[in-house]
């Protein structure tokens, strides 16, 4: 295996921009890696070999002509969750209903990646329409966790996280609606970030829950995630919920954090997300992480967010409601799957949606239709939106006492494929620590916090106020540096070799 695939995005960028190695060579190395292992991992739904090499060659040509690289990440390969529209690649959102669909437009995020000279290797697997915590609800088969291929990589963005952990790409982009970037990061020992709501454009992001969805950077290191964050984030006039503010200086913050000094930073431990009832190995990993942060000079405070326990319930009312409306457009009339001929439009719509959607999507559509029905709106959707306000207030109160808040990212390590797929409620519990951030629209990330006693990765969640990503990256980078020093190097390099 080429050593290039072991490098971080920052290291690759340095080598490419100094012309020590070509972008084409780097792209090819990763394409070779994908060819070698993706038969097992199944991180990718589509690999765009030709387009990737063309894109990489363009970067090399520019550099050869003495033109400055388009961005600090020009020439670096990336795996893109199949929920962002790409004009030259199919976009399926992990669903049969969009099998083979070629969008006639690029997402703003896609456009920014291209403009930055990033080499898009292909589209990654995901739970259908981003609904799930294990990637088992993908219509195209599950993705396997490179740490243990009989286990889930997390979801909904399991493909992006697995691609990183299998060294198929140094960078990836996912979307996080209730933890879909952070939880897979925890499960695969990688870094995943959910920016402030409105920080990354949703134009071209196939909507799951509009008020919760947010695209975010995924990488193997905090520094790499910061570099990618600064490429994809920023105001977009095509998205009415986009924030018109400068992107937080996360690269600088990560660099500052890497120095390892957190004196003056107040870290809040949320009583309600302290790990009670979580898997033992997850709990102990978290406790050790808190001790580590203290050693780095942070002041640890305990905070209470009493309404967080209602987060799951509120989320599983708000999300299905928005989903039931967002997915109504898939009706076989204008694009996508069409099932049934000679029947009426109504019959074709119903037959197509029945055939094209998987069980989890159907469940949520039905639940959402119910929650919005007249007579039920106040008790369900209406009430959930009020709980949302209370959760936002809990965060605001907590952030008066702490600069960042921490918790375990997920209550367990990666569970076996098939374990929870028939138990929706059990599956939903995966998200209980990550959901409050989506409801409040604040920022959070997951950074690896070691291996549990079962040998599987655990993640530490670091949360910040809206537009407060800088301090979040700083704390994560400091913690990462301390962990690497203690472990004798990033633990991700200990991921077992992927079996053929």
């Amino acid at each position: 295996m080429s050593e290039l695939i072991r490098l971080t995005a920052a290291e690759l960028a340095e080598k490419i921009h100094s012309r020590e190695v070509s972008a084409v060579e780097v792209a090819q190395a990763h394409l070779d890696r994908i060819a070698a292992v993706d038969g097992t991992v199944h991180a990718f739904l589509h690999v765009a070999s030709e387009a990737a090499l063309v894109s990489a060659a363009l970067v090399d040509d520019g550099l050869a002509a003495g033109v400055a690289p388009a961005s600090p990440l020009a020439g670096v390969p990336l795996a893109l969750k199949d929920v962002f529209t790409t004009i030259d690649m199919p976009t399926t959102a992990g669903s049969k209903i969009l099998s083979g669909w070629r969008p006639p437009y690029d997402a703003t995020l896609t456009t920014r990646l291209r403009a930055a000279g990033v080499t898009i290797l292909g589209k990654t697997n995901m739970d259908e329409f981003a609904m799930g915590s294990s990637t088992e609800y993908s219509a195209y088969g599950p993705t396997r966790n490179p740490w243990a291929t009989a286990r889930i990589p997390g979801g909904s963005g399991g493909g992006s996280a697995a691609a990183l952990a299998a060294f198929e790409a140094p960078l990836a982009v996912g979307t996080d609606t209730g933890g879909s970037v952070r939880q897979p990061a925890a499960m695969t020992g990688t870094v995943g970030v959910k920016p402030t709501y409105g920080g990354v454009s949703r134009y071209g992001l196939i909507a799951c829950a509009s008020s919760l969805d947010q695209g975010g950077p995924c990488a193997r290191t905090v520094g790499d995630a910061a570099l990618l964050h600064e490429v994809i984030a920023g105001y977009d006039p095509l998205d009415s919920t986009s924030i018109d503010e400068p992107v937080p200086a996360v690269v600088a913050a990560a660099r500052l954090g890497a120095s390892g000094d957190l004196s003056g930073v107040r870290v809040g431990v949320i009583r309600e997300l302290g790990g009670e009832g979580y898997q033992a190995g997850v709990r102990s990993s978290f406790d050790a992480a808190v001790v580590q942060l203290q050693k780095l000079g942070a002041e640890i405070v305990e905070v209470s967010c009493p309404h967080f326990e209602y987060g799951l319930a509120a989320y599983y009312l708000i999300l299905p409601s928005e989903v039931s409306s967002n997915l109504a457009r898939f009706d076989a009339m204008r694009y996508g799957l069409r099932v049934g001929t000679g029947a009426s439009a109504e019959e074709v719509m119903a037959a197509t949606r029945e055939a094209g959607f998987g069980p989890e999507v159907k469940r949520r559509i039905i639940l959402g239709t119910y929650a919005l029905s007249s007579g039920y709106y106040d008790a369900y959707y209406g009430q959930a939106q009020k709980v949302r306000t209370l959760i936002a207030r809990d965060f605001a109160a907590a952030f008066t006492h702490a600069d960042v808040l921490v918790s375990p990212t997920a209550p367990t390590t990666a569970f076996p494929i098939g374990d929870k797929v028939d138990d929706p409620l059990a599956m939903y519990l995966n998200d209980l620590a990550t959901i409050p951030t989506n409801l409040a629209g604040t920022a959070a990330l997951s950074v690896p916090s070691g291996l549990a006693d079962d040998g599987l990765p655990v993640g530490l969640q670091v949360m910040a106020p809206a537009l407060g990503e800088a301090v979040m990256y700083r704390v994560a980078a400091a913690y990462e540096a301390a962990r690497d020093a203690e472990d004798g190097g990033p633990l991700i390099h200990r991921v077992p070799e992927v079996p053929a």
Binding site: F84, T85, T91, A93, L98, W101, P103, P104, Y105, A107, R202, Y203, G204, L205, I206, A207, A209, S210, S211, P237, L238, D239, S240, T241, S321, E322, S324, S325, A328, R329, F330, D331, M333, R334, Y335, A345, E346, M349, T369, L372, S373, S374, Y377, Y381
Partner: protein, 503 residues
């Protein structure tokens, strides 16, 4: 279905009080659509004015058109509504192929304008105040063509063809409160309201308001209440009302139809009906199993609109003089009676007269010219007044020339004839035809003396004090000068020339 028993109109009113409600949808004439930058032009090739947003493609997002919001606020202000300090968009969820997202982005319980009124004038000069419940913003749907059925109708069609050019065009929906107490004038009131609303929207310049083109659509709601009971009856909604006349006819038909149903001891079905232009009747729409539950919720892809007070006041300043304000002012300024004003409006002369006054002519003169001579000219040519090839500025010029003595009324008419014939501006016609009044006294005196010499007995009469006889000499001089003399001056000169010579 049994053929409805039609009840005589008078009989309807013996038993029932009609209660009206009108919903009007207005297509705004903005450059671009409500939520995207696609053009809104009428008549383009199908699916050539579309983008990911108005096609509802996966991943697309809406962004509100500022100009549409301004129009909505101006409409609200012109209808005397309160403009909401804070409002939102909501999703109205239902499935239909002409709606790309299978929800319509609209406004539900938080519209931009509420609680206004429109004072509507009826033909007999009386006024009805129609109260406005709300005005809100929403987006239009695409257009469907039904193929294979009868006359392009949806019933019996084999398939349909969809064009989304119209999808996303901004619509303002204006809803009246219930209008009771109109009695036998309900059809007339309905028509007058829609007419007045149309005129208002035209004056605001926010829409083409062409009912025949669909840029203004009217739904008529009607119920019958047992006479003097105050108890509301069951309401029907009638769509496909495509002209002002149809509004009136639809109301009238529904009144008689519902009366027939009720008097036969049956209940009126709450339903949506379709107006049939050819027969002037309504027929029921397809019966639905249950009332539609649109599952409204706030649109998460759009943020609330909170128009600052300064902006609303700035927009209030852009309101033109509204039609009834203008009529009130003109009535006062020109001292017209209501009947006189109405005649002018009906003759289509109001704008022309106003423009003539604006060009400097006195109101009475302006009115007189347009209502008398020019109307005569228009009639004999078989055209409307505004189609005559003479402008208000030109008419004002002619009036000014008469006032200064350069023309008399007879000459003035010849000048106008010249302008109508395309000979040029009034001044050019005067020169071209040599129509200027002879004002040179010398020439006039000579003409007077000649006329006096030709009629010595008349001259004698004038000299002996019979001043009235001067008329004959004036006539002779006018004839001799081909009318190009100021008759008044000629008469003065005649009397002067006949005055006793003082020794």
């Amino acid at each position: 279905m049994t053929t409805p028993t039609l009840v005589g109109y008078d009989e309807v009113l013996e038993h029932f009080d009609p209660v009206l409600g009108l919903e009007v949808h207005v297509e705004l004439s903005t450059n671009t659509k409500m939520f995207c930058g696609c053009p809104t032009e009428f008549g383009a090739e199908p699916n050539t004015q579309v983008c990911p947003t108005c096609l509802g493609l996966p991943g697309s997002l809406p962004v509100v058109n500022r100009s549409a919001v301004e129009s909505a606020i101006r409409i609200g202000l012109a209808l005397n509504c309160s403009i909401a300090p804070w409002c939102r968009f909501a999703r109205k969820n239902y499935f239909y192929p002409d709606m790309p997202k299978n929800f319509q982005t609209s406004q539900y319980d938080e519209p931009i304008a509420v609680n206004g009124y429109l004072d509507v004038e009826l033909d007999d000069g009386s006024t009805v105040r129609v109260e406005i419940e709300r005005a809100h913003m929403e987006e239009d749907t695409g257009k469907s063509l039904h193929v294979g059925g009868a006359a392009g109708r949806i019933h019996g069609a084999e398939y349909s063809l969809l064009d989304y050019n119209r999808a996303g065009v901004p619509l303002i929906e204006i809803v009246t409160k219930m209008i009771p107490g109109t009695r036998e004038r309900a059809p007339e009131v309905a028509r007058a309201y829609v007419t007045a609303l149309r005129d208002l929207l035209r004056a605001l310049g926010v829409s083409d308001v062409r009912m025949d083109q669909g840029s203004m659509r009217c739904d008529v709601n009607l119920s019958l209440s047992p006479r003097d009971s105050g108890v509301l009856g069951t309401r029907t909604e009638t769509k496909n009302v495509n002209s002002l006349r149809s509004v009136e006819r639809a109301v009238r038909y529904e009144m008689t139809r519902q009366a027939g149903v009720l008097l036969a001891g049956e209940a009126v079905v709450q339903e949506t009906r379709h107006f049939e232009e050819a027969s002037g009747t309504t027929r029921p729409g397809r019966r639905k199993e249950t009332a539609e539950d649109y599952r409204y919720f706030p649109e998460p892809d759009l943020v609330p609109i909170a128009p600052p007070v300064e902006w609303v006041e700035e927009l209030r300043g852009t309101l033109p003089e509204l039609p009834w304000e203008r009529r009130r002012r003109i009535s006062a300024e020109w001292s017209l009676t209501d009947e006189e004003l109405r005649d002018l409006v009906n003759a289509g002369a109001l704008d022309l007269i106003e423009a003539t006054v604006a060009a400097g002519a006195p109101a009475g003169e302006a009115r007189s010219w347009w209502v008398a001579y020019l109307t005569q000219q228009a009639n004999s040519r078989g055209v409307t007044l505004d189609a005559l090839p003479v402008t208000p500025e030109q008419v004002a010029r002619v009036i000014a020339l008469v006032a200064s003595g350069e023309l008399n009324n007879k000459l003035a008419r010849q000048v106008v004839d010249g302008v109508l014939a395309g000979e040029g501006s009034p001044d050019e016609v005067v020169t071209g035809r040599g129509l200027a009044i002879v004002s040179d006294d010398g020439a006039l005196v000579a003409a007077v003396d000649e006329a006096l010499a030709a009629q010595p007995d008349i001259a004698e009469k004038i000299r002996s004090g019979k001043v009235a006889a001067a008329g004959a000499i004036v006539g002779a001089v006018m004839k001799a000068t081909s009318g190009k003399a100021d008759a008044k001056r000629v008469r003065e000169l005649v009397l002067q020339r006949c005055a006793p010579v003082r020794g």
